[in-house]
Amino acid sequence: MIPELGQYALMLALGLALIQGIMPIVGTRTNDPTLMSIAAPAAIAQFVFVAIAFTALAVSYVTSDFSVLNVFENSNSQMPLIYRLTSIWGNHEGSMLLWVSILAFFGALVAAFGTNLPAVLKANALAVQAWIAAAFHLFILITSNPFLRIPDAPFEGRDLNPILQDPGLAFHPPMLYLGYVGFSIAFSFAIAALLEGRIDAAWARWVRPWVLGAWMCLTLGIAGGSYWAYYELGWGGFWFWDPVENASLMPWLAGTALLHSAVVMEKRGALKVWTILLAILTFSLSLIGTFLVRSGVLTSVHAFATDPTRGIFILAILIVFIGGALALYAWRAPLLKQGGLFAPISREGALVFNNLFLTTACATVFTGTLYPLALEALTDAKISVGPPFFNATFGPLFIPLMLVMPFGPLMGWKRGDLLGAAQRLLAAAMVAAVAVAAAFALEHGGPVLAPFGVGVAVFVIAGAVTDIVERTMFLRLPFRAILRRAVGLPRSAWGTAFAHFGIGVTLLGIIGVTAWGTERIAEIKPGDQLEISHYRLSFDGVFNRTGPNYRDVVGRFTVHRMSGELIGVMEPSRRTFPARNMATTEAALMTRGASQLYLSLGDPNKDGSVPVRLYFKPHVLMIWLGAVFMFMGGALSLSDRRLRVGAPRPARTKRTANSVLQPAE
């Protein structure tokens, strides 16, 4: 009964999405305010029904209703409640339902809180949202229905893939989806602006909070996924340049560019046409990311052949939305008015530089990720494009971006003073030079270029600090005056500094762990010792442990400092899940400052020896700490009064006057 209710609700949501997608557009064409005003209530109603559908699936999972095929295939009554819930999005059908639920939620938010939006823009944007929603509802109902039943209900489910039974995976996909889907708002507003043929600086002000929020979620989502891969896959890598990861990195790069170009548009009215294009591209990459990961096409184009309806449907959605949006752009963008002038050396110029390098870096990732697919489809040759490709292309493009980044915030709008900015960054550059020297002196081994990498990262960090120091006149005013200035700074200035600081911290972590990380691989017996960096590990032996739906073979290791001081115990394990007859490696981590010891076990041999992998990961935690700083930067920026207030003041007073004059509407 409950699954049928869910399916029925989803069908109704489709119907509502169709109404929401057609009526308001007709309204804007015929200038009929009644038709336009259908959009908002339709969006809210659509969300209600999608929420009912999602709840129905959630109830089926929680009550372990194995008569539902999707629950049977991905859940198990022995699993803890939290994983029974997260199994909902641990599979294709459920994750699509989550995706469309978030989409409907955001649509309802725009409908409910976008009260100060111009009526035409709001109607058009909500209609575009509805088209996306309708396509996804159809896709779910026709090809990926999570509510299908099995005639003879089995007693037990097949269990969720064990590597997904992890707290990291509980929040990683929803965060990614919040990011992907958040960009849909920017997309809808961009299409709405093109349909209307009118765009102004206020557009950027309405769209920017959405882009910022989506970007924050995507940042945390990517960082979470990276940390999960690091500790769960047992190889200790934080980024593999795997197509699945690239699929989430591409919208992040484009979204970061969009975030910055929207600033230029909001402040100076320039780069309008470019910002619109970025909004379209960012969401297109999100769509591609969602589908590439979920369709299995990344492993092989032939995956399409195993399920042709789904594959063709996906292709159709991509072609209609991306192709349609770009065609509309080509047709309507020339109508949009050009923005203000600026000199190449200026805040705008720096942001253009940022956009140029971010989008180019994004294009290289795109090429590296999709080239193997294209080649296989055309020539049947199978190739893999791995880390060397991305290191050789993405890396060189990112270095200039990092070097220029501290200059941006110190430059004035319209016409900047490069020499002045350079003078103010002198201290930061000196700190960076000291860091390079220190890295040369303190660290041994590793690539020769690594200390210079440390220098770049420290320059970025010191540059972010310089920005705040300059703005508060630190050390040049009495303490209370500085404090007053610091409090008085716009939150967005703090946000910029935090986010840029975070990038530097992440970079520092990446360089530290790739340049100076060490590893030991050995077969050891109880009583043996391993030494790494400043630590000595002794292997005490192996014992068994039982969990709710798994069995552990645990290795126990005591960790001492080289000087002999006892630090603690590490217990890596091999975890077997009987429901799927699958084993996973549960690595043990020991945190020392920002560095970690990382230990994972292989399959024990017959003679009692155990293969182990031991890593020392210097500064590895900074990688994810930096992402947290970026998130905080986004949050600070989002809380800026300017964004909360929304539309510019004069426009607002005018609108209030209008509504007073037209009460009968």
């Binding site: 893939n161 047992g234 390098f357 180019t360 199978k382 490709f389 699958m582 399959d603 293969p611």
Partner: protein, 158 residues
């Protein structure tokens, strides 16, 4: 500067960055692309020693020989040809005889494939697509694999 000149500067620098990126990519494509081959492909194409490739197939039954210090030798087969593989390190969780495997490395002068990476695949029902295709091509594909491969694999994993 006039509007036109500024736009030229913008477009010019954009093209310059793009040109650099294309040069970087072409260079990287030349150096860092790895082709996938089955043992039969290796025989037919006469893949030279020292060329990095990915080798895929099934781990031949009874071929795993473990040496000291985590070294292991086994044979990869696609039903028609087989190739000896040498590897040193911890094997992935699902490495076992009769299962699909993808190894990355290069042939040495003696015709032994020295693998430096054995790809970890994380589902026992999962058959690497490249391996499945290679088996189909060599005519040794069994329906049993197809059923196992067609089973939903839970998604989301790497």
């Amino acid at each position: 500067m006039t509007r036109k000149q500024r736009r030229l500067v913008l477009i010019g620098s954009g093209l310059a960055v793009l040109a650099v990126a294309v040069a970087l990519m072409l260079n990287a494509f030349r150096d860092s692309i790895v082709f996938f081959n089955s043992p039969s492909d290796v025989m037919e194409k006469h893949v030279g020693s020292g060329t990095r490739i990915r080798l895929g197939g099934l781990v031949k039954d009874g071929s795993i020989v473990r040496g000291s210090n985590l070294s292991v030798r086994f044979e990869v087969t696609d039903g028609n040809s087989e190739l000896p593989v040498a590897y040193q390190g911890v094997l992935p969780d699902l490495f076992r005889e009769g299962q699909g495997v993808v190894a990355e490395g290069a042939l040495d002068a003696a015709g032994v494939f020295n693998a430096d990476t054995i790809l970890a695949k994380h589902d026992e029902t999962y058959m690497p697509k490249e391996v499945a295709d290679a088996l189909k091509k060599s005519g040794h594909w069994k329906d049993d694999y197809a059923q196992r491969a067609a089973m939903p694999v839970g998604g989301g994993g790497k």
